[in-house]
């Protein structure tokens, strides 16, 4: 059994006629329930539910306080390389894009680590494009060994790997895996992933599960919002998280709701996702899966990020550079996308405190 079986159930689902039938009293009834099912989750993602965002926010706020308290974990990504053999229509690293490519040497990784650690951050997420020739597993493991000296938690957002490869990477000191499906709709997936290994929908879809089987502590999934009608992608992301949480209860599952940002190369075929849509997505998720982690990146603006804090965010990136070597070198590789919240770690920390929440720098340790 794979999540694909769950996906198939909804492959030809008539979302529009489902949404048409949702009534205001349905939403009120759902908001008074203790535990909601898949269809009730979908109803909370409906256009009708937009009239109840405040009620949903109140409920989501209480659930978040109960389960996570007034605490927001901070982390930052570190881009190790931007070499990529994939041709993805929406990504700056696209093999056909004429950008400056760079791969950090081990010495540069250490320099970058020192620069990031000096801001107080203890959780790091390392990223590369997909290029087994430039950034093979052995390179990643060497990088992790260096980073372990400076950070208490290391996450990876790399290309999909096998279960055995994940086991090796965990052994080296990684505890968290982030892997986005980008788009759950199989046809759109095929269209936007023009060439390269990423074209394999099934291998990517099962990647979070391979991470769970390898005993990652945290697995973070998500859809890149804008590639398809957001309500459908939000729904399928929620189902995927629920599937993983039920099957692998020892893994902490979280989601990110990234929206497409400007990047090198151009991709015009973007579905709109407003701030209001993003909020509805987060609230519906929190009510459907009260124990789910929710990560908000610097793709979103400072003002919006601050306002999202009480709605169920558990983790935020801060002091971000998406450029390879962006924290410590002048000779940087081009970024994956433009960030929106450019505040420093200290500024983000102060903003969280002023919202009445505690910024957490360390929530794990190598054991």
């Amino acid at each position: 059994m794979s999540f694909y079986n769950c996906y198939e159930k909804f492959k030809n689902f008539d979302y529009d006629s489902f949404f048409e039938k949702v009534t205001e009293s349905d939403i009120l009834r759902i908001l008074n329930k203790n535990k909601i099912d898949q269809y009730e989750f979908l109803a909370l993602l409906s256009p009708v539910a937009e009239n109840f965002l405040e009620e949903m926010a109140q409920r989501a706020n209480i659930l978040s306080l109960q389960h996570f308290g007034k605490a927001i974990l901070l982390f930052t990504p570190m881009y190790l390389a931007n070499h990529c053999i994939n041709q993805c229509a929406y990504c700056g690293y696209n093999i056909n894009n004429n950008i400056k490519r760079k791969k950090l040497t081990l010495e540069e990784i250490e320099k970058e680590a020192i620069a990031i650690a000096s801001t107080g951050l203890r959780h790091i997420l390392i990223l590369t494009g997909e290029s087994p020739k430039d950034t093979p597993l052995s390179y990643i493991i060497e990088a992790v060994k260096i980073l372990k000296k400076y950070f208490d938690s290391i996450g990876i957002e790399l290309y999909p790997m096998t279960e055995d490869e994940y086991k090796k990477i965990i052994e080296a000191g990684v505890d968290s895996l982030t892997i986005y499906q980008e788009v759950y709709d199989e046809e759109i997936y095929d269209r936007v992933h023009i060439s390269g290994p990423k074209k394999d929908y099934h291998f990517r879809l099962d990647t979070p599960e391979r991470g769970c089987m390898a005993k990652m502590r945290n697995v973070n999934i998500g859809a890149l919002l804008g590639l398809n009608e957001w309500r459908r992608e939000a729904f399928l992301t929620g189902l995927h998280a629920d599937y993983l949480q039920n099957k692998y209860p020892d893994v902490a599952i979280s989601i990110s709701p990234p929206r497409i940002r400007p990047h090198a190369g151009c991709f015009e075929d973007v579905y709109p996702v407003t701030d209001k849509n993003l909020v509805q997505y987060m609230l519906a998720l929190r009510i459907f899966l009260p124990y789910l982690g929710i990560t908000i990146s610097t793709r979103e603006s400072a003002g919006l990020r601050d306002n999202l804090i009480p709605l169920g965010v558990t983790k935020m990136s801060a002091g971000v550079s998406t450029e390879v070597g962006g924290h410590s070198t002048d000779d940087k590789g081009e970024g994956q996308f433009e960030i929106s919240d450019i505040r420093s770690v200290e500024e983000v920390k102060e903003a969280i405190l002023s919202k009445g929440y505690q910024p957490i720098f360390k929530d794990w340790m190598h054991i």
């Binding site: 306080l65 109960q66 389960h67 996570f68 308290g69 007034k70 605490a71 107080g120 203890r122 208490d152 502590r217 949480q245 039920n246 209860p249 020892d250 893994v251 902490a252 599952i253 124990y291 405190l353 009445g356 929440y357 505690q358 957490i360 720098f361 360390k362 929530d363 794990w364 340790m365 054991i367």
Partner: protein, 258 residues
Amino acid sequence: MDKLVIGGVELKSRLLIGTGKFSSKKIIPDVIKSCETQVVTMALRRVDLKAKEENLLEYIPKDIILLPNTSGARNAEEAVRIARLARAMGCGNWIKIEVISDNKYLLPDNQETIKATEILAKEGFVVLPYMSPDLMAAKRLVEAGAAAVMPLGAPIGTNRGIKTKELVQILIDEIDLPIIVDAGIGRPSEAAEAMEMGAEAVLVNTAIATANDPVNMAKAFSFAVKAGRIAYLSKLGPTKQYAQASSPLTGFLNEGEL
């Protein structure tokens, strides 16, 4: 009030508090002061010895007994490793075992908890295991060398009160170690209820940390715990199904033939 003894240490306060979920670490010293707690738990994984301002330990007065917990451990082996790290980091030899391999409800794994308790008790730790209230598991924790048993009142963070009342009562009646109700207590009246039942202490975190005024809420909990303990020691009157009038209408029947 009578004293609570855990691991050979006499405690005046029967309220233990947690340090997670607060809006700021800076408020923690005031919370500790206002409720006069003597034992404070914290997730070892959040302790950062490298960063002074961000180090939770800096906010806990030196005369407080630290009760590091093994939150994050998915099995006995990981709990044991975290406990040893805690001791090596200078957090003393008290340890609260939390083994949770269910990220959906955060319910403890009793079997792994028993294993970890046995190993750590032998190594000289004062072990306080957090558990789902189950009599046989509690008996095994006693055999394993626990210093107290900490059953949950409701799933952690839910503030729903002592939903496991019947089972916790059995532990109070049958287990010779102090029973400390941990998790689920959402309001001072529920802390008082646990104490009236005969619990030796309660551990509260979410209800204090997420209150609008955590310092005063901590004080309210402290009063409630004291009231509940005094009520327990004073032996509550029996409860009855029907009202009992002070001037009964059928009293004449007992007075013999007129």
